[in-house]
Symmetry: C3
Subunit: 424 residues, 3 copies
Amino acid sequence: MYRWANDLFPICRSITGKGAEETLRYIQTILPEMEIRKVPTGTKAFDWIVPQEWEINDAYIADERGDRIVDFKKLNLHVMGYSTAVDETLSFEELDSHLYSLKDLPNAVAYVTSYYERRWGFCIAHSQREELRKEPHKKYRVKIDSRHFDGHLTYGECVLKGESEKEILLSTYICHPSMANNELSGPVVAAALGRYLKEAPRRYTYRIVFAPETIGSIVYLSANLKTMKERTIAGFVLTCIGDDRCYSYLSSRYGNTLADKIAIHTLKYIAPNFKRYSFLDRGSDERQYCSAGVDLPVCLIMRSKFGEYPEYHTSLDNMGLISPAGLEGGFNAVKSCLDIAEANYVYTNTVLCEPQMSKRNLYPTMSAKGSADKVRTLMNFLAYADGTNDLIDIAEILGVYAGDLIEIANILTKARLVTRNDDL
Amino acid sequence: MYRWANDLFPICRSITGKGAEETLRYIQTILPEMEIRKVPTGTKAFDWIVPQEWEINDAYIADERGDRIVDFKKLNLHVMGYSTAVDETLSFEELDSHLYSLKDLPNAVAYVTSYYERRWGFCIAHSQREELRKEPHKKYRVKIDSRHFDGHLTYGECVLKGESEKEILLSTYICHPSMANNELSGPVVAAALGRYLKEAPRRYTYRIVFAPETIGSIVYLSANLKTMKERTIAGFVLTCIGDDRCYSYLSSRYGNTLADKIAIHTLKYIAPNFKRYSFLDRGSDERQYCSAGVDLPVCLIMRSKFGEYPEYHTSLDNMGLISPAGLEGGFNAVKSCLDIAEANYVYTNTVLCEPQMSKRNLYPTMSAKGSADKVRTLMNFLAYADGTNDLIDIAEILGVYAGDLIEIANILTKARLVTRNDDL
Amino acid sequence: MYRWANDLFPICRSITGKGAEETLRYIQTILPEMEIRKVPTGTKAFDWIVPQEWEINDAYIADERGDRIVDFKKLNLHVMGYSTAVDETLSFEELDSHLYSLKDLPNAVAYVTSYYERRWGFCIAHSQREELRKEPHKKYRVKIDSRHFDGHLTYGECVLKGESEKEILLSTYICHPSMANNELSGPVVAAALGRYLKEAPRRYTYRIVFAPETIGSIVYLSANLKTMKERTIAGFVLTCIGDDRCYSYLSSRYGNTLADKIAIHTLKYIAPNFKRYSFLDRGSDERQYCSAGVDLPVCLIMRSKFGEYPEYHTSLDNMGLISPAGLEGGFNAVKSCLDIAEANYVYTNTVLCEPQMSKRNLYPTMSAKGSADKVRTLMNFLAYADGTNDLIDIAEILGVYAGDLIEIANILTKARLVTRNDDL
């Protein structure tokens, strides 16, 4: 995953344009089941309209000697996303209102966009800006070679059919330029999960979406809402899932969906110190998936949450911020959730009173002090396999990790002491 | 309000009689919409019967020289409420069983009544009683010029029609003689709220009741129960609302009515240290309004609660105990509740996914670190305006004061991004 | 009760056989209403089959001189329950795999059984075993004079009819050999409760079951499940209820039955430091009564819980462990629960608004500071006697012991201010 992210890092992505498409083509080499779809400029999607496509070829600020002192080719964050074209010579004073920098992180370059109002701008280190400010009347050649045109918005979609039509959604976004945790970690973890899932037996169908943030998920929902509302039993937005500082969870609108239940239970056992965020702290595509009336059962599993780490939305969110171990941890957290989801049936006992376990070799035949402890968990599972609890409910009642109950559930199912049902 | 209370203070009120009526006439000068109603002695009201009217003209204890040592004309608390007439000369020893005093507050005169058993009695300072006790055989002229006769019970009722037939009840009582916090603060705050409401646009109809405590509210309920049960969405008993020591809240029978919800939310923000009392601590007309089978959604907002301050039901509950600021604070607390009640619609979003706020000038057009914070509350309101939450629910979810959301609710309603409904 | 336990102590009980029957015959002398029932070997009961009956006459280990070094006649725990017959001469090495002892309690003899797999074994003090181990080749005569044959399983059943067909279940077990707290305390407390109940007025019918643990309750349930599910409103398993170290409560499967409600409320007031155990800590016949699909409203009230005291399932659980005071405390705890259950009607007020208590001599006729306190509990009872609360609900709301409200409930019922109903 780290290598994939490294390959994708230099590409200049935005909500439309070549960078997004190039990124999707790369992901297709990992997950060929993913299909690339295009939606024309002007397409309506709920309250929104797909904007014009943005193409950027070059951009720089050059000094009087013609030396590029700010160069898009060295760091694509230097250009404000969706900047209009410009080719002028300006004094610093004139240029200054088009510059964006961060006082608090004087050596970082900020990530700034203006998708829905035409502007141009450069993002530079605050330290550099302060240097330039010393000679306010010096002239600069300012060039942005970009254009806006009727084109397409591009996204990727991968549907892996399972036994059931019911679906689990994984969604991530491919519109961020050269930043690593936010957001190459999401696409590479999503791709790796796709590879894992396509080889695994699947009770559920999996829908994996790679789309530009906000407008992409809105466009996707406007095309698929009915199906998704009927079928989706849980979903996870994958973002900021590649560093190794912590694990984070952000809830759905009310925190009461199956996705939340799975995520909270799983993180409680595999990352007990995970940080919990409410939907009030939201910021990614859960804003759309969980919006009122859409109401998909979607939550977020992250490492360091967007907006909570200092490098967020700056050039410091680079390949050094994420790590193979960080990505692996993120992958495993989501994979554990999916494994539990697959085993999360409602279990119902088939025998009144306790079954005689000893005749099935599931219980010690001799009752002595302590002997019962060994099969305690098995008997406890049976006690609460009463048709009102799913695997996670039983795990919560027993105070154990649901992942550790899967084997017991399978033993009891095979012994026909429980049946399993999809729903209550 | 303080001036009104001061004017009303000297009047000798009881559950019937001239004092109550005189008080109502004064309130009519402030709130002419209030009508005075009379109910004849002997009228049945649930388990009760309207008692005979009580008239008191004079009362005193005079010493052997004829000097009045206890004089109703100086302090009407000196006579036990509803005392029968007496005109005798008694030794202190004979008199003593008719005297009521407070050991713990030796200079205060207690407030004592005997509405439903015929007695006579005087309330005097305990210090004075101890003085008298020194000469047990001394004789005293004891005179109470009172009479009981078939007359009326009198109460005031003011109904201010609103857009809806649904009602908010305000209820206070006018049966206490010269005491200030309990109970002139309630009537004057109720009168001031009436004046405020009659000038305000009113979604709800307001029913303001000025009645003698207990028998008055029982009589009122027996005449109006069906209508009130159908229409009342919330109500507040106004009592002990004029001092400036604290704010208090006393819940309805189960604390789960809209009135409780409004009061708790409002006090949490405008008086965070407010004291919470359960219905087990009740003592005013909530005893009737919230009784089983009556079940009106009524709670209490007070300053210092009855029974909880040392001056309660004594001559020390005088005009020095309440203050203009205390009354103003009480008025504002209830007014805030009513303002929130008026805006407390259920809000429902009209657009799937987040609306594009920038095209409506409700969102910054440029996305940079932190820019979203400014409209965070607006977007949060929208997120939870899903047809399942009223204004207070949304405020509780967002962790903000509902009063501060009213403007946002109006902006979004005007922008047609939400609709509002009366009920879930 | 202590004397009864003392009489029963020496009998060698098991899940079948003469000891259980002898025990039941003794209990019949205390509670003649109890009938003894027999179920033949081979009878099916849900997943189980009634096993062969086990008869034991003698058992010992004798040394080379013929001296009995381990003797069943001195302590019946020495023989593993349900041991097959054996008559051999073995070296210690050969014998050792048939010995059971407790390293942690080197002087205690463990209680071990093997009901469903044919084995033989001796339980001896670990200290003795260590002594024998020193001479591994020494020979021992090992004799168990036992037999298994098609016979019966025996249990006792006592049904005391009440006004209603609805039942309260008391269940205990009679299959443990010479141990006192676990389990002679249960049978003797059950017998004493039977004697109390048969003399008392009974709203409910009482079903008292004395059966061997596990197989006995399973057999009983398989014969009576339909009736018991229809009629049982609450039940208590009586076990480990004779020592005086603490009080314990173990919940039903979800802890939400009427039995739990009664037990928790009662213990909270009569034994505030009682220990609470969850159903995960279960171990007696609640395993069957509360199993999924059986779902009887049953919980446990104990003194020191099985498995939680060091003497449990050893020869140290002897008559010195229990005491008359311990048994009395256990008896009273359950009796208090039953008394409350009998009075646990749903109460409904008959009068709208507060009734006029003074005309019924239920309220002081003169209102002065503090006078209302005296009748506060009575008025509070009335306030919540609204047809939605039973006696315990009201007690919980008022923060008082339900046992202390029974008199008030009776006063108000007699005054026709409340009616009482069986159910919500």
